[in-house]
């Protein structure tokens, strides 16, 4: 069963190279931007010197907070990219095999439809985020190395300024936690996309997106003007109860403020401390979302299993 799953998931990675190519492309762009940024900033010689002196004189907490903010910003670009890959992957996962008729070959092997659909769900919710987080770590390292070299050239103490301030263990732990936990919050949407992907005859993207756009509008036109779908789709999606930060903006400022607030549990600069993992896992909305995902996935298995496709 598990060996089958690994084989099936490997097939998904073969079929959808975007799973690993997309984060690598983002990594390339981030590294190029870091490089070009450094080169162009270097033109302002005096200002750069001043900034480095400023950084050297700043206190430890401020430097660590700024570094955490910067590395979090990089990670969130990847998170956004991974989310897009997840959407397009899950829309394609059960649609492409019907379009090219390869479903007949896959179904001639002793693999159940449930095993196949579950492998696609796992690829979307687990493999894509994990591949992404590995590339995020590599990119963090690369950007730090590039920045160290640059600081060194500008006459700064790279080891102290850069590596002394980057709380990599803490940031990476937070990234891994987010990669494993956040997709579960998105799972009802992924389940819906997989279901559409096995159901629709054409245009899976439109078929999946139109109801998401139209249902909230239609609901507003009804006499009771309810907002069930707006809350369930839009409000909920963007408010996973995992962070105690308000959004990803000005992370460094929020971290610093917390640190200086002197409240218990705020010793040391830590991104991980701002994740409320227990509260997230205890959230009924998370579990309700996974139930909705489960219903869509069972629907997808059922359709793949019982639909009599003309061949």
């Amino acid at each position: 069963m598990i060996a089958h799953q690994l084989t099936l998931i490997r097939r998904e990675i073969w079929e959808h190279p975007a799973i690993w190519v997309s984060p690598l492309v983002i990594a390339l762009i981030v590294s190029m931007l870091t490089l070009t940024g450094q080169v162009s900033v270097s033109a302002f010689g005096e200002a750069v010197d001043l900034a480095i002196v400023g950084a050297q004189n700043a206190d430890e907490v401020h430097r660590a907070a700024i570094m955490t903010g910067a590395l979090t910003a990089i990670a969130s670009i990847f998170a956004f990219g991974a989310w897009i890959v997840m959407i397009f992957y899950s829309l394609d996962a059960l649609y492409a095999e019907r379009k090219d008729k390869s479903i007949l070959f896959w179904r001639s092997l002793p693999i159940t439809d449930a095993e196949t659909v579950v492998s696609k769900l796992l690829t979307a919710l687990f493999v894509i985020p994990v591949v992404t987080v590995v590339v995020v770590m590599a990119t963090h390292l690369l950007v730090l190395v590039l920045t160290s070299i640059w600081v060194k050239f500008q006459g700064g103490q790279a080891l102290h300024l850069i590596w002394g301030s980057a709380r990599l263990g803490d940031i990476w732990a937070a990234c891994v936690a987010c990669a494993l936990l956040l997709p579960l919050w998105m799972s009802p949407l992924i389940g819906w996309f997989l279901f559409v992907s096995t159901l629709t005859k054409r245009a899976p993207f439109l078929t999946a997106v139109l109801p998401i756009l139209l249902l909230p509008m239609l609901e507003k036109m009804l006499p009771m003007r309810s907002s069930f779908f707006i809350d369930a789709i839009y409000v909920r999606t963007f408010q996973p109860p995992l962070f105690d930060l308000s959004g990803f903006e000005r992370v460094e400022q929020q971290i610093e403020e917390q640190f200086y607030s002197g409240l218990p549990g705020t010793e040391g600069v830590s991104l991980l401390k701002h994740l409320d993992v227990a509260g997230y896992i205890a959230s009924p909305s998370l579990w309700l979302g996974m139930v909705v995902c489960g219903i869509f996935v069972v629907g997808a298995i059922y359709v793949r299993r019982y639909r009599d496709e003309s061949y």
Binding site: R10, W14, E15, S102, L104, S108, L109, P110, D308, Y311
Partner: protein, 285 residues
């Protein structure tokens, strides 16, 4: 003899159309059965029912299993090639072999590699880079490397040129078939597989018109080539079909002895194609 496939009063309805209409038959181990029928006769629907791809009414048992409800178990011992090219186009040949090797308990990678070494199919190639004939060779190599009890082929050589077609059937017979295996095959090119078959089934409008061993065909059916008065006299014996060839009448008889017909002219064993045309026309008349 043990029945590998056993169908009793199997029917399948699509809306108001009965694609398969109260069909009963048995397929025994070690046979090569040709399922022959015109387009829309219900061949593919019947094969789909046998493969568990579609549900049907009546009793259908394949290898002692209910094909629709026990598909996974069934697929360990059945292989099939559908009438459309179905190998995924994005995959590499070696990836495909890895995948089948890891998911099919009865697959022999060594055998597949050996079979493919005799072709031009390279293991690093993607399926989309292969010609149509090579894709079929690849599919056949995979199928022949699976130790299956029943092989179902639905128009396996559709769109291939004559060289590939001949090679396909030669490989199937020489390297694959033995008394432990059973093959169920449909094709339009009846002439090409005629000599391969041990049994033949005709299907038209969802009904089985003929279900016989190839050996029994020469006993049960005789083709008479006669002219003039002799043809007129023979016509009174009730041929099931008649047509003209080079000014002579070709009469097809069912259940008439060769001794009885010999005085009227030249006797032949009808080809499966002739017999098929006669049966289908007879059923429509």
């Amino acid at each position: 003899m043990t029945s590998l496939v056993s169908a009793h009063h199997v029917s399948k309805q699509f809306g108001s159309i009965r694609a398969v209409d109260d069909v009963s038959f048995e397929i025994e181990k070690g046979k090569i059965v040709g399922l022959i029928g015109p387009n829309g006769a219900g061949k593919t629907t019947l094969l789909k029912a046998v493969l568990g791809l579609t549900d049907c009414d009546g009793e259908l048992s394949v290898l002692g299993l209910d094909p629709f409800r026990q598909r996974k178990e069934l697929m360990q011992n059945i292989c099939f090639i559908a009438d459309v090219a179905v190998l995924p186009r994005w995959i590499r040949v070696n990836q495909l072999l890895d995948f089948v090797g890891q998911t099919h308990p009865n697959f022999s990678r060594a055998r597949a590699d050996k079979l493919l070494a005799e072709t031009k199919v390279r293991s690093r190639a993607k399926v989309r880079e292969l010609s149509k004939g090579m894709v079929t060779q690849l599919h056949l190599a995979i199928i022949m490397s699976i130790d299956a009890k029943l092989l179902v082929l639905d128009e396996p050589t559709l769109g291939l040129d004559i060289i590939f077609r001949k090679e396909f059937y030669a490989n199937l017979l020489n390297d694959y078939f033995d008394e432990e295996r059973t093959i169920l095959i449909t094709t339009h090119q009846v002439e090409e597989i005629e000599r391969l078959l041990t049994d033949v089934m005709f299907i038209n409008d969802g009904r089985i018109l003929l279900d016989a061993t190839m050996d029994s065909l020469s006993d049960g059916y005789v083709q008479l080539l006669a002219s003039g008065d002799k043809a007129a006299a023979a016509r009174k014996l009730g041929p099931i079909a008649e047509n003209e060839l080079f000014g002579k009448s070709v009469l097809l008889f069912e259940g008439r002895g060769r001794d009885e017909l010999a005085p009227y002219g030249e006797l032949h064993t009808p080809s499966v194609a002739d017999l098929f045309v006669a049966k289908v026309k007879g059923a429509r008349a």
